[in-house]
Each structure stands twice: as structure tokens, then as C-alpha cells.
Symmetry: C2
Subunit: 168 residues, 2 copies
Amino acid sequence: MATTRIIDDDRLTAVGLLVEVHRGLTQKFAARLARHGLSENELEIMLRLGRTPNTQLRMSDLAAQTSLTTSGVTRVVDRLERAGLVVRASCDTDRRGTWAVLTDAGLERVTAAVADHMEDVDRWYTGLLTPEQLAALTEALRIVRDTVRPEAVAGVAEAARARPRVDV
Amino acid sequence: MATTRIIDDDRLTAVGLLVEVHRGLTQKFAARLARHGLSENELEIMLRLGRTPNTQLRMSDLAAQTSLTTSGVTRVVDRLERAGLVVRASCDTDRRGTWAVLTDAGLERVTAAVADHMEDVDRWYTGLLTPEQLAALTEALRIVRDTVRPEAVAGVAEAARARPRVDV
DNA sequence: TAACAATGGTTGACGGCGCAAGATATTGAA
DNA sequence: TTCAATATCTTGCGCCGTCAACCATTGTTA
């Protein structure tokens, strides 16, 4: 009766599947993103900025949303700023804070990258499943997400309230 | 009609959910694994060795299964060997190759780590879903996995055929 | 108002992993 | 048989992101 070993537990396999799918997709996506000059983290940060009213978020909110450390966000934004895709702007109401603001060039870049990217998403993920399967998958993931990462929407309300910056 | 922007596409959100769940779980799991002195990659390598007949796999098969590069596997196995959890053994039939063999101490360690780990898996993942939801999730993931990582079972047959090493 | 904790962000040191090149072994074709 | 092409593994180097220490600012308590 070798099948009772704990290292063969089904629940472990369920985790393994999730990990393998994540890795596989990441690899499939990486090449095309690289052609747009973006890493996964860079794309995600720009996406979150692009989806926010006024296309700006505080550094610490980006950290909370992405589960990078604030240090990691500093370095990603450093690179994006060097590339002209993001600028930093000081925060009027709290002079400790810094907004990361998506530039026009940044919005353009992320839009182009995503338009292209979508082909991969379709081919390697959403397109492989029936609408019912995809809906079930998404629902299950959402349940888990809401438990393991409840902080994933930090800062959006504040950013909408902030005065938009026109000098970008 | 701002909702037609491509960066708000639903399929992108589906990917985002997967990524967030993966990250969230990874973080939840990391602390307990660290208490057993193991990183996620180290655990996975030991798990795959432990599940294989004779508890051994070629370096290159480990690379294929884990989507680390062979270089990455070399370094992980270096650490595990230094810790006495794995040993390298030369491969009689192809002298280019190297077996990574789980030691008794290694099997003990991974078993203890997994037993403990399972509590987290249950709490943050499988336990959050009904059996039906979990089954649907697993099925959908398996479909995607089989497409994006068809090579995920490399080397198991060969390892079973190889003469077991008693001098571990 | 002074003192001190808490928060936001950056920086230096460091570790992990990928890339590309190298050493060794195997395979195949002439 | 011999030599080129290929496969396996390791190593030097560099990038990326974490950790911990740090500075600046804000909030709190007395």
C-alpha cells in the first residue's frame, strides 16, 4: 500500500497544477512582452496605473497591489521612469508620499503591448476552455484570491480623488 | 464609453486572478516552509525525487519538470547536497548524466515538511472550495497545463528502470 | 510644544536564477 | 575510424527583487 504516503496527497497535486500553469503561462507570455521591452512586473505596474482614474497610484499602493515590496516597486518604477513610461510626482497632501504617474507614452506602450499580448492569452489560456469551464475557473480563483490577498485593491479611491496632473 | 479600452479586457482579469492566487499562496506557504529550512523550489525538487521510483532523477529531467534551467537545478541541488538531503550519483549508461538521489534524511525532511505544509494548503486553498468547485478548478487547470507544459513528466520511466542505489 | 512612534520611500548588500560559454561525453555520417 | 554535431552538466557574470538600515514626514501623547 504505497499510495498512502503523504507526499502523494491529492491536495498537493492541486497546488502543483496551479504552480505549473502559472509558470507555463509566464514563459509563454515572456517572449512577446520582451519584444515590447517589458517584463511581467513592469507590465503589471503599468496596467494598474492605466486602469486607475488619473493613471496614478502611490508607490506603497502599487506595492500592496502587486505584492512586490516597496523596495521592489522603487526599482521597477526607476526603470520605467528611465524609459519615459512613468514619472514620479510629489504628493501635495502628504509630502512623504510619491505618485507614480503613467505618461502618454506609457499608456501608448501598455496599450500596444496588451493588444498584442491578448493573442497569447487567448491561445494559451482562455481559448482552451469552454465558457462554462472558464467561468468556473474564474469563480474558484476569485474565492481563493479574496482570502489570500484581500488587500489587492489598495489606493484606487484616493487616486481618483487626487487632482489630475496635466504636466505629463 | 470608457469600458471598451483593451486594458480592461476580461480575459486579462482572468490571468490576473491566476497570478494573484499564485502569489498569495506562495507567500502564505513560504513562512512555514522556511521553518523547515526549505524554499519552494527546494521542496519541489525533493518532492519530485521522493515520488519517483528509487527516489532519483537526472538533473536534466528535473529541469524539464520544474521549468528551472539546468543551471538553476545545478544550484538547487548544490544546496540540497550541502545540507545532506540529496546526493549526486554518476549515471552508468550515459557518463554525461548525473542522478540526483534523495537521501534518507531528505525523504524524512520532505515528509515532515509536507505533513506540516498540508495544513496551509487546506486552510488557504483546497479547504476554501466545495468539492465540486475544487474538481472544476482542477480540471480546468489540467487542461491548460497539458497544453502549456506537456513535458512535465520527463524521465520518470527511465528512473524506474535504473538500478537502485543502496549506498545512500 | 516637545518627544516619540508610525508611515512612506530609497539605498546598499546580498541571494537566487537565467544566459551564454566551456568541459566532457555521446551519436551519427562519411 | 574519425570528426562534426549534439547532449549533459557546471561556471562566470549580470539582472532582479528582498532585507535591513536609513532619512524625511506625519500623527500622537503629554
